[in-house]
Chain length 146, copies 2
Amino acid sequence: MGELSIPGLLLTPANRIAVDAGDAITFIKEGEQGYAGIAEVYGSFVKCGARKGWRRHNKVTLNIVVPVGQIRFVLYDDRIGSAGFGLYEEIILGPENYQRLTVPPGVWMAFEGLLEGESLLWNAIDQPHDPAEADIKELSAFEYAW
Amino acid sequence: MGELSIPGLLLTPANRIAVDAGDAITFIKEGEQGYAGIAEVYGSFVKCGARKGWRRHNKVTLNIVVPVGQIRFVLYDDRIGSAGFGLYEEIILGPENYQRLTVPPGVWMAFEGLLEGESLLWNAIDQPHDPAEADIKELSAFEYAW
């Protein structure tokens, strides 16, 4: 995998390493594609059928994995002059498609839990969380056909 | 919470923030107690009743949370001259005791899955994984009464 239609958006294969007592799974490592430093890591559960977003980080790069469940991510690029201007990108992540999604600053994101129970994502960000750095819109703000 | 009987071992309360669509959970943030920089994050599943360890990192500081299941961690200090020399510390982490465990270099650790299915830990380390930096012993090497 690699760059998607929205510039700066990246998918990096992550690994699940078989271990008898329980598998090991990778998330992110210095020097890998998309690594931008890590100042904070946090998690987000999402209930089946529930959606969170839209949110746009203006300075922060996101690096996301989904170790549990299944989550549909929708990205939207409205950056003036971007080669991806006006484009949506949809990506479904979970243990069956275990990859790390890198989201550059300036791209809108929303996501939806797809599996019964709660799905879980982890997000490693390169600057500590600062609510002033992000913009938020209602889910209905963009006409995406979920 | 704070420092435990083994010097350098820390427990830092982490948060679960109620959100209708699914809760947010904290893991680690720059400036917090125990934060030592993050060069890599990885996960480890552990089956119920299975144990992993013993392992001692000689340079790396670990920062661990357990978002799913329940894991018993056993730490053992055999550092010559340490105030904790010869001591074991046992800590059970999971969503019901959602805290971040900081393990300093030089302390032995093993852990066991306590809940049906697989439990999951995440570990944020301050240097990229390097097998040469860690020592390993068989589970039977220390006579701990699990």
